[in-house]
Every structure is written in structure tokens, then in C-alpha cells.
Assembly symmetry: C2
Homo-oligomer: 350 residues x 2
DNA sequence: CACAAAATGATTGACGTCTGTCAGGACTTT
DNA sequence: AAAGTCCTGACAGACGTCAATCATTTTGTG
């Protein structure tokens, strides 16, 4: 019961290997009648082309390119590290991954990179932002037959092939649910802290939290959101001020970055509000471990990168794939379900 | 800048292809001096054998076998479904997966299956239980060079190659942390409900919860655990009784199965305690969605199965792999971060 | 130096697919 | 009937590795 080969298909269809090959690879020049018989044989035998042999024969490599923001927030460092790791792991599968760093928040640079880099690869993964130029660039790539996968942050939902990242409204709702859970019986006052008011992701999270806290919990008041520009120093100053202004703050939801500043404020106090923040970084992890932070909502960048590559490969192979959204869910880390710290040495087969 | 082939290695080492091949595949009959030169060349060129070509040449298939408990709890159904799904996905990579169902909780049957099935495959994945017979069987397989991966439930930590599953103490701690979070300012009383007192996994979870709740929170009292034999009917009866006996119960931690019974009790009440249970099943999911359950701690069986297969493949290829424990963490699902419901239709590349 | 043993090189045919070429047959068109 | 299409089959050389055979060279021993 060997897997059928194309030779078997040809024999079953009563044609030569050449003809079966012409049908399989759509080279044309085959009579409709013969083509049908080949297709029938493929179906009845359950033939599946051996992709490894095919790639070997073609000398094919998969060239995937990642366009990542050049930014030294821990989150993007982690994302970059994940891509680098996959680079090694996938090489054995003929997948060549290259990374281009784009100045953060520079829509022009990103659009330009999309135009330029698109030619040199089979599929692109981009941490996108929503801007007309970028939508246009992705649409143009699609027209040229180059698929674009958006990563972490979506754009051009009509034109990109897939989005691999969390639903930020869902993430915000999750934060809201945690805050609500912790306020089951008490009154309270929630302080949301935005990284930047302009970022779509941050607004989505805020909206999500509000949706969960609104109405149903009159005892829980949500203050107007602070905005700290993702910077620890501004975070420290504004949060300190807010805590002074509103002694009844019982919960803080930090939506963006700059959490080092928040932690500094927290560790200077005896009593602290409930704190929920985003992204498991060395800072937030330490915050959890030291009991200064209650929950961290993470999007597991390493898993996102791995899934993005899986999707890109499926696209390149012309296979079907299932919606990655199902597997990318905001993950709640508490003090007690943290993954093992950092990079363990490899364990070898003995 | 093509990837170097074994021909390149041979040329660089100044030997023939045959000799390089003899070194690479340890066929023997090579002078130490030549062998060293080949190894040097491999190192300096960064040669990596093309596994796909090698497998093609050998006609090699990976035969992996899963020994799963024959049990119609939703969790094991989900586990089985995940294996079936991987069966299709991995066939293209020459990975043939077969499943043998073992009567649940029957250590003899499992040990017997381990002895019998081990011969017919390259690597075994087992939902194990801790019993001397099973430890012995796994140790015997290891001696015969057949690796065993324990799945969901560990055993014979010295002899098995890897464990792919959550740390149940960690899961229990996580549940405890959630309960604590929700009792920040109020007094309360927690009712733990065991599936079966004998199961190691359940005891671990209970211990974990106790570890988090003990001492630090004098306002939070933990009642003696109920035991409901993983059965909904017993669950309903005992929990109803407990709620009557202890009107001050503010939290329930359901450690095992039978949650349908618990949900029935909850929906009959106006006010309900905080509820944390395990495993995202149709029942627990509905409980979350209807607001009857607050949190579900899940171990993501589909991901576990996928990771187990990755590890098995690495073992079979003699590659290094990293400890799967880092990627398998108890996941907290709330009402708001549930994955998309069930099986979406496939989205095809357009 | 002779001779066996050990080491090496050369070669070949797989594995399943891709890609290209060439020849011949069937059929239509003038 | 000749010339032109369109289809089809046969074959060959690659891709990188495995596995086996056989011939040749080198080495070591007495």
C-alpha cells in the first residue's frame, strides 16, 4: 500500500507519464478527454504530489521576507528574535527568511519597502499600519501575485492574504473582564493608560475594555484615559499624578508600552491597585513575579511568527489553510502560569 | 551561494563522494585521518544533509503511534480529533500516524499495548498513568531504542523522552490565583471538587490551588474537597448539598470532569459563586458564554498533539529539540477571549 | 619483497518529480 | 495528396541522497 506516484496515475488513466505530467502541471496541449481521465485517476487513487520531491527537482526555495519595525521596545525585540529563531529552524525545509527593518511609524518608508522588496520574494509578512499608501502597496502586490500576510497589526483587510495577530478589541475585553472579576463586590475606579492616542490597536483595546465595564457594573467607574506616548518617564509622571488626584483608583489598565515607569510607581507604594498590562517582557514578567502586577495579556509573538510562516508556506504551495485567527488568542499570564524563564539549553536526544 | 551538498564536502575534504558518504552515514572503513578531514569540511562549509532528499532516497516514512484512552469525555474526544487532524496534515511530510485506543484507567492494557505496539513504529506517544508496569514497559522500549513521549499525563520521567502536557500544579496555582484575585477585598469560602481522589493530576491541581491560597489570605477558607468521580449526576447531587451546607461558599474550583452537572446546579440559582473549571469543552464553553462560569483553564490539546509530533519527528531525525514544557502552559479562557467557535470552513488561497 | 588487509575511488540505479526535446500518429485543411 | 495542426509517447538529464558493487590504490606485516 505505497502512496501512488504520478506513474501510477498515468498507468491507471491509460496515458503516458508525460501526459499525466502535462495535466498535473497544467502545461496544456492535452485533449480534454485524456485530461479528464487523468483527473479521474488522480481522484480515485487519491494521488498527492510529493512536494519534497518536486521541490528537490525544481531546486525550489521559499523566499519569505519580514518587514519589521525598527524599534527597541521589548515586544519588537521579541518578535525579531522569534523570526531569527525560525530562520534556523525552517532552513531545513527550504524556507529562506530575510528581515528588513523599517523605521517605526513611518508609513512612507513602509510603503516604499513593500514596493521594493516585493519583487525579491514569494511572500511578505508585514507589521502593518493603516494608511492609504500602505493599502495601495499591498493591493499592488496582490495584483502582482505576491501574497502579503499582516502580522501583529492588520491593514488592507481586502487585499492582504491573512492576518496573524490578536483581535485587540478582544484583548481589551479580556482585560476588562479581569478587572471586573476583581471588583466583584467592591466599588472602584479604573484608570486606563494609552501608549499613544493615535494607534488603532490601542483604541481598540480601550474600546474593548469599556464594552465590558460599561453599564453592567455601575459600581465601577472608568476614568478618562491617560496617554503616555509609550514612554516610561511620562508614564511615571502621569500615573503618579493620577493616583494623587484620584485616591479611589482600584485598577490600572496599561494598554501600551512604557510599563517600566508604571512598575516604578507601584513599587514605591504600600497599597497598590489591581494592574493589568500587555505583552510579556522582562519588565512585565518581573512585575508579575514580584507581585506588583496582577495580569499580563500577551499575544505570544513567537507563536504568531511560526503561524505566519506556516500560512505563507501554505500560500506558496497553493494549499488551503485555515484562518489563523482561531489559534491566536490573547493569553492571560498570572504569576503562576508563566512559561519557563528565557532560553533553556537544548536538550538532545540521548 | 547555493547550499553545499555532500559533493561539495567531498571536494573540500579532498576525498571522493563515497568516502564522505561513508563518514556521514557512519558506514565504517574510513581512515581516521580522512574522517577528520570530512568532518572539518562539513563544519567549515556548514553542510547540512538535505533530509527531504535523504528520505526520498530511502523511501523512508515516519511511523508514529498514539495510545489514547478509550473514553468519551469531551477532553479525550478533542484529543482524538486533534490527532486525526494532524494525520491528514502531516501525511505530506511522510509522517504516518496511527491511533490505538486503550480502555481508560486500565494499566495492564496500557502496559500490554506498549509492549505490543512498540515494534511497529518509530516513536510512541502515550497518555500515561503512573504504574510500575507502565514504567517498566516504557523503560523496556527505551532500551530497544524506541522513544516514548508522554502526552497530557506523565509517567516514568527517567525513561520517557519527553513530556508534552501541562504542569498540573501550575494549573492549580493558576486557578488559585484567579480565585484570590476575585476575593481581593472580601471574605469567602472555596469549594474544590475533585474528579477522582486517586488521579495524580487532580491531586496536583488541588495542591497547587492550596499553595496559592494558604496562609496569605486568612479571609479565604478552603473547604475539604468533594469527590464526584467525574460524573455529572454525582456532581449535581454533591454540589447542591455542599451549597446548602455552606451558604458562604463564594468560589468553586472544579478540578476534573462532570461539569455538566455543575452547570445545571448553577443555572438553577439566582446568585452564584465564582466558578473556575478545567478544559474548554462544549459544556464549559457554553458555561462561559452564558455567564455561569468565570474562567476555564485549558491545556489546548490540539497544540499539545502538534507539539508532540514535532518532538517525535525531531527524535526520529536525531535532531535536538527544546523542552516542550516551555510552550505548554495552562491557558485561561474567560468569556471574552474564546477562540472562534468550532470548525470554520477552510479558507482557500485565491 | 610479497601478500593480505584496509582504505579509497568510481560507478550505477534507485527515490518521485520537473523540464525539455524529438518523433510519430491522427486529424484537418487546401 | 501534400501540408499543416494537435496529441501523445518515449526518453534523458537534472535535484541530493542512499546503498551497493567492484576496481584500484595505499598501508601494514612478516
Amino acid at each position: 500500500m505505497r502512496k501512488p506516484t504520478l506513474h501510477d496515475v498515468a498507468r491507471a488513466a491509460g496515458v503516458s507519464y508525460s501526459t499525466a505530467d502535462r495535466v498535473l502541471n497544467a502545461r496544456g496541449g492535452v485533449a480534454p478527454k485524456s485530461a479528464d481521465r487523468v483527473r479521474d485517476a488522480i481522484a480515485t487513487l487519491g494521488y498527492e504530489r510529493d512536494l519534497h520531491a518536486a521541490n528537490l527537482s525544481r531546486g525550489r526555495n521559499y523566499n519569505f521576507r519580514f518587514l519589521l519595525p525598527k524599534d527597541d521596545h521589548s515586544f519588537f525585540r521579541a518578535l525579531r528574535a522569534a523570526v531569527d529563531r525560525e530562520q534556523d529552524l525552517r532552513r531545513a525545509d527550504r524556507i529562506l527568511i530575510s528581515v528588513t527593518e523599517i523605521p517605526a511609524l513611518d508609513a512612507d518608508a513602509l510603503a516604499h519597502a513593500l514596493d521594493a522588496e516585493g519583487s525579491a520574494c514569494d511572500c511578505l509578512a508585514v507589521v502593518a499600519t493603516e494608511a492609504p499608501r500602505i493599502t495601495a502597496a499591498i493591493t499592488a502586490l496582490r495584483a502582482r501575485g505576491i501574497a502579503v500576510v499582516t502580522l501583529v497589526s492588520d491593514a488592507a483587510p481586502e487585499a492582504r492574504a491573512a492576518y496573524v495577530g490578536i483581535d485587540n478589541v478582544m484583548a481589551g475585553r479580556t482585560a476588562g473582564r479581569l478587572l471586573r472579576l476583581a471588583h466583584a463586590t467592591r466599588q472602584g475606579c479604573i484608570l486606563p493608560v494609552l501608549g499613544s492616542v493615535s494607534a488603532r490597536d490601542h483604541r481598540d483595546r480601550l474600546d474593548g475594555m469599556n464594552a465590558v465595564l460599561a453599564g453592567e457594573t455601575p459600581a465601577l467607574r472608568v476614568l478618562p484615559a491617560l496617554s503616555v506616548d509609550d514612554r516610561p518617564d511620562i508614564m511615571r509622571a502621569r500615573v503618579t499624578q493620577a493616583l494623587a488626584d484620584h485616591p479611589d483608583i482600584t485598577g490600572i489598565y496599561s494598554i501600551g508600552a512604557g510599563n517600566r515607569g508604571l512598575i516604578e510607581v507601584l513599587e514605591a507604594r504600600q497599597t497598590r491597585p489591581l494592574v493589568v498590562m500587555h505583552e510579556l517582557t522582562p519588565v512585565s514578567r518581573a512585575g508579575l513575579e514580584r507581585g506588583l502586577v496582577d495580569a499580563v495579556i500577551d499575544q505570544k509573538p513567537a507563536q504568531e511568527v511560526a503561524l505566519a510562516i506556516d500560512v505563507m508556506k501554505a500560500i506558496a504551495d497553493g494549499r488551503d489553510w485555515h484562518d489563523p485567527a482561531r489559534d491566536i488568542i490573547p493569553t492571560i499570564f498570572l504569576k503562576d502560569n508563566l512559561p519557563a524563564p528565557a532560553d533553556n539549553p537544548q536538550i538532545s536526544a540521548s
